[in-house]
Amino acid sequence: MEIKNNTDKLQSIIFAMALGVCQGLIGFPWSEELLLQVSHVLWILFVSVIGFLILDTNRISRWRSVFFVVLAVFFILHFKASLIGLGKNPFFSSDVQEVPYCHIAMASSFLNYLYQQYLAFQSGSWKLWGPLSLGVLWLAVTLSIGRAWCSWACFYGGIDDGISRVLPKPLVKKYTFNKTLRDLPAAILIFMTLVSLSAMLPIFCLWLCPLKITTAFLDTHSPTRLLQIILFSAIGISTLIVLPLILKKRFFCGLICPFGAWQSFFGRINPFRVAIAPDKCTQCGLCLKSCPTFVLNDDALKNHTISAYCNLCGECIDACPQNAMTYTLLGRPIHLFKSKCLTRLFNAKTFFVFSCLLVGGAVGGLFVPPRIAYFLEVVFKQ
C-alpha cells in the first residue's frame, strides 16, 4: 500500500495542470463566442481532474471509466440533440443516410475507401480526398495511444463500459468462455471488408452495427431494412446491454467491434504495453477475472504474456494485489531519473495516462463543449 504525502499530491497537481495547459494549447476555440469558451474550459478542467485523480488515488480504470462514460453520454446527447434540432425523429429517418465518418464503418469497409481514393486519384478530383485526412488523423492517434483508443478515447466504448459497471457484482459468475471467440472481431473485420467491397456498401454499418443508435437509422419500409433493424437491435440489446449488465464484461468491444481488431493489429506500432512482472505475480487470477474484454486467460497468465487485443484499460492493474501489472514502454518500465520524486512524475504510466487523456480530451472537445454550452444557455436563460 502506497503511503501518500504532500509531495505526492503536489506531483498529481503538477500533472493535472500540465494536462490542462496542453489541452488548451491543442484545441481551445479562441475565436468562438464566450459561452463556448467557458464550456471548453469546463471540459478541460474535467479532464484534468480525472488526470489528478488517477495519479493521486492510483485507481486507473475507475477514473478512466468515469471519463470514458461521460464521453459516450455526451456523444449520444450531441447527435440526438442535433437530430431533434433538425426537426426530425431522433431514431428513424426516411432519407438515405450517408455512412457516417465513423472509425468502425471505415475500418470494416476499408477496401471501399481505398478504391474510392483510387478513383479520386484517377479523376483528379482532390475534393474526394477527405478520407485521407482522416487517415492521417487516425495515424496520429495510433502513434500516440495505439490500442488504448478502445478504452480511453472511443466515443462508443463508454456505452458497454458504463453498463458493465451498473451492478456491483456479476449476476452470472460461472460460465465457460471459448477463447477462440476472442478472434471473432478480427474475423468480422476481414469478412466485412471483403463483402463490403463486393457489394460496394459498408455492410457492417448497414447490417450489424448497434452503435447507429447514436445517429438515426433508416425507416422500416422494406423487408431488407426491417431485417437490418432487427439484426442490429438484437446485437445491440445483447452485446451492449444485457450481457455487459449480467456478466460485467464489455461484450461489444471485446467480441464484436471490428475497429477493436483493426486497432489491435495496427496499434502494435505504439510502444505502450501492459506487462506482468513474473517475479511479483502469484497466479491468483484476479486480473483474469477483472479483464472486461476477455484478453487475459490461463495461458496468458502462466506465460506472463498479454495478447495484442489488450486495450490498456488498466482494470487488471487496479485489480492486482501484488502490483504485478504495470504500464510499460515496449515491455520495460522506464526510470529516467534517479530521484524517486521525479520518477513518480516521469514514468511509463504517467506518459501513457497523459497521452490518453490528451487524445480523449481532444476527441471530446469536438462535441462535449457545445452540449455544455447548450445546457448553460438553457439554465441561465431561465
Partner: protein
C-alpha cells in the same frame, strides 16, 4: 474467334468483380484450411477454379441451348438457390472445423466429399454470385447456340481467372494458428451471410 475474344475481354474487364465476389467465400476457406501445405492449398485453388469452369461450361451450354427460356425468374431462382447452398456449405465447413469430432460432422464430411469441397464451392460461385457472370449469361442467351455459348464462357472464364490470383496471398497466412481460427470464424460468417442474402433475394421478389 471474335466471339471468344469478346468473352475474354468481357472477362478481363469485369474480372475485378469476380475477385470481390469470390473472395468472401474463398479467402475464409483458404485461411481455415490448415494445416494444409502450400501444395494442398494451391490444389484447392485450382479445384475451385475448375469448379467455376464447370459451372460456366454447363451454363454456357444450357443457356445457349435453351435461349431465352433461361432468362428472367428462372435464372434468378437458380442464383438465389445457389447462394443459399453456398451459405449452407460454408456453415457446414465451419462446423467441421470448429468441432470436427461430433458425430454429425464426421458423417457429413466423409473424406471424398471433403476433398471435393473447393470444386463444389467453385461451381456454386460460378453460377451465382458473380455479376459479370450474369452479364455473360445474357450475351450467351442472345447468341442462342450451345457450342458458341460454351466457347464464349470458356474465354470469359480465362479472362476472369487471372483476377483470382491475388487470393494466393492468403496462403502463407494459413500456417499461422490464429489466422486459421480467424478463417474458421469467417467461414461461419460467410455461411450466415450468403444464406441471408439468398433468402432475402427470394423474399424481395
Amino acid at each position: 474467334m471474335i466471339l471468344m475474344a469478346e468473352g475474354f475481354i468481357l472477362g478481363l474487364s469485369t474480372g475485378p468483380y469476380c475477385l470481390t465476389a469470390c473472395a468472401p467465400l474463398l479467402a475464409p476457406y483458404l485461411m481455415a484450411d490448415a494445416p494444409a501445405s502450400w501444395k494442398t492449398q494451391i490444389r484447392a485453388l485450382i479445384e475451385f477454379v475448375a469448379g467455376r469452369l464447370t459451372a460456366y461450361v454447363i451454363f454456357g451450354l444450357t443457356a445457349g441451348f435453351l435461349g431465352k427460356n433461361l432468362s428472367g425468374p428462372l435464372s434468378a431462382k437458380i442464383i438465389q438457390s445457389a447462394l443459399i447452398v453456398s451459405g449452407l456449405l460454408m456453415l457446414l465447413y465451419f462446423f467441421k472445423k470448429a468441432s470436427p469430432h461430433t458425430s454429425l460432422c464426421a458423417a457429413l464430411w466423409r473424406p471424398a466429399w471433403a476433398k471435393r469441397f473447393p470444386f463444389v464451392l467453385g461451381c456454386l460461385v460460378g453460377i451465382n454470385i458473380c455479376p459479370p457472370f450474369v452479364a455473360g449469361l445474357s450475351r450467351v442467351i442472345d447468341i442462342g447456340s450451345a457450342g458458341m455459348g460454351m466457347l464464349y464462357f470458356l474465354a470469359f472464364f480465362a479472362g476472369t481467372t487471372l483476377y483470382l490470383m491475388p487470393l494466393l496471398i492468403v496462403l502463407p497466412l494459413s500456417v499461422i494458428k490464429r489466422a486459421q481460427t480467424i478463417g474458421t470464424l469467417m467461414c461461419g460468417l460467410a455461411g450466415l451471410w450468403f444464406i441471408a442474402k439468398g433468402l432475402l433475394g427470394f423474399f424481395s421478389r
